[in-house]
């Protein structure tokens, strides 16, 4: 029974990975029929995947050169005001070749970023370092893949935990069905993350901590699916999360916290301003920075390793032959994927844990002797 199940599981995984490789065999440069064979192309492809994108790319048929993808809405603030259109207008171009004209604004997409051409420019020009010279970035509020992922995670959370909450309201003191799985997780965050680190005042911060914990966890897990979200690997996302934490603990700091931060008692007066600077830098910059880099780097690295291992079947084909290289890639990618499932939870846990630790530091009331 177990054996058949595990075989089914491996088969499913194999299917996922083959679809992934079809995905990998898609477009790096948006050129039809451009397969990825060399290490350079693979590296570019992985780098491309790690970035956000404006459409939901499923796979590319190399024979006909057609891309299969969902277009996502593009919402940009240009010199000519707010422009909205579907990303399919770029026809999968990512090199700034297709120009979309909306009113006075002429937009191109280059390496997953949308640029607006300067006045009078008809095509994009590059300097030696491949930076565009006659175009500038626009403020991009598009529903990108990451935003789509966040919305998806938010809807999943609202549905799941809303159901749990409704269950309680109906008078079941013990939840039924799927909600029964969610309840221990909520209790886990409350009893093992918030309470020990924050103390008595934990209740005020539960909304943030629970939301962030499940948000990060769900996004991390979505990132492991072949849909290829890399939301928590977007530096803007982790910066935002870290800033939220920083704002919360800086604004809920107790009198004691500020007294200890700005005018540390029990040290020579000459040292106090120096300590105040160090503490302030620590709380305002270093702690949020450590939060954001930890999450960003871990998730990016995870995606990078999984994709590199999948790419082994291409890079090692010369040395080991197609069967051995595919097998090796499958086993290693499976192994790392299992670890990544753990990492997905671990990073959500660490982020929430450290957030509550910092909040705990800020709200702590020292006993005066």
């Amino acid at each position: 029974m177990v054996a058949t199940k595990s075989i089914q599981f491996i088969a499913a995984l194999a299917f996922i990975f083959t679809s992934f490789s079809a995905f990998a065999g898609g477009s790096d440069n948006g050129q039809p029929g451009n397969t990825i064979d060399t290490p350079e192309e693979i590296k570019d492809y992985i780098a491309h995947h790690l970035k956000d994108s404006h459409d939901f790319h499923l796979f590319t048929d190399n024979e006909s050169g057609t891309h299969v993808s969902f277009p996502l809405p593009v919402i940009v603030w240009t010199n000519d005001g707010l422009k909205t259109f579907m990303s399919s207008a770029f026809h999968h171009d990512d090199n700034g070749e297709v120009i979309v004209e909306k009113g006075d604004a002429r937009l191109v997409k280059l390496h997953s970023k949308i640029y607006e051409l300067e006045e009078g420019a008809t095509s994009i020009n590059f300097d030696e370092e491949n930076h565009p010279t006659n175009a500038h970035k626009v403020l991009d509020f598009s529903i990108t893949k990451s935003v789509f992922g966040m919305l998806l995670a938010g809807i999943l959370m609202l549905l799941g935990f809303g159901a749990l909450a409704r269950g309680y309201k109906k008078g079941h003191s013990v939840p039924k069905g799927f909600a029964r799985v969610l309840e221990p997780l909520v209790i886990y965050v409350r009893d093992d993350i918030a309470k020990p680190n924050i103390g008595k005042k934990y209740r005020k911060f539960m909304g943030f901590l629970l939301t962030v914990f499940f948000f990060i966890w769900i996004l991390n897990l979505l990132g492991l699916t072949p849909l290829g979200f890399n939301v928590t690997g977007q530096i803007a996302v982790t910066v935002c999360l870290a800033i939220f934490t920083a704002i919360i603990y800086l604004f809920s700091g107790s009198k004691d916290f500020w007294a200890h931060t700005l005018w540390m008692p029990g040290v020579p007066v000459i040292l106090r301003p120096i300590l105040a600077v160090i503490e302030l830098i620590g709380f305002v910059i270093i702690k949020p920075f450590s939060l954001l880099v930890r999450l960003f780097a871990n998730m990016t690295a995870g995606h990078f390793v999984v994709m590199s291992l999948i790419a082994l079947m291409i890079t090692m084909k010369e040395a080991f032959g197609p069967v051995a290289s595919t097998g090796m890639s499958l086993v290693l990618a499976l192994f790392i994927s299992v670890i990544e499932i753990l990492v997905a939870f671990l990073q959500a846990f660490i982020f929430t844990m450290l957030s509550s630790l910092f909040i705990g530091m800020a709200v702590e009331e020292h006993e005066h002797h």
């Binding site: 609202l158 309840e183 539960m206 909304g207 999360l241």
Partner: protein, 166 residues
């Protein structure tokens, strides 16, 4: 670092901030608050139930202890009552005995007194009988004696002699 900064998308940052803020507010209103409240009330309920069970147990123990105490007290009281009854019985018996004794003594004394007085009366009667009898005899004797003059003189003589002798 430069690519990292280049990758930083202000738009994505703003979108994320807005989504996260809305999500936190929505989740707090529709999920976390009711969930945490329900958990709290459930835990309080469990704690209360445990506490009251503990209290009931304690009360039960107290009750058994007080029952035992009552039983012991009742037993002690019974002992005391029995003892008192026994004592009362004894005192009653002894007092009855004493009373009977006293009464008997009194009766005996009365009887003795009666006997004494009867005896005295009898003696007095006997004395008077004897006296009258002896008087009669003496009269008869004296009549016989005084019939003769000599003899009268002799008698007076002897009686006088006796009188001086006395």
């Amino acid at each position: 670092m430069e690519t990292l900064l280049n990758d930083f998308s202000v738009g994505l940052f703003i979108m994320q901030a807005v989504i996260l803020l809305i999500l936190i507010l929505l989740m707090r209103k529709f999920a976390w608050k009711p969930i945490l409240d329900a958990l709290q009330s459930r835990e309080d309920g469990i704690q209360n139930a445990l506490d009251s069970a503990e209290k009931a147990k304690l009360e039960m123990q107290n009750l058994t202890a007080s029952n035992d105490k009552l039983l012991k007290e009742a037993r002690a009281e019974r002992e005391v009552l029995l003892k008192e009854a026994r004592e009362m019985k004894e005192t009653m018996i002894s007092s009855a005995k004493e009373e009977a004794q006293v009464q008997a003594n009194a009766m005996i004394a009365q009887a003795q007194a009666a006997i004494e007085s009867e005896k005295k009366a009898a003696m007095a009667e006997l004395k008077s009988h004897v006296a009258s009898l002896s008087l009669e005899i003496a009269e008869k004797v004296v009549r016989q004696e005084l019939s003769n003059k000599d003899k009268q003189e002799a008698l007076v003589e002897s009686m006088l002699g006796e009188a001086t002798l006395n």
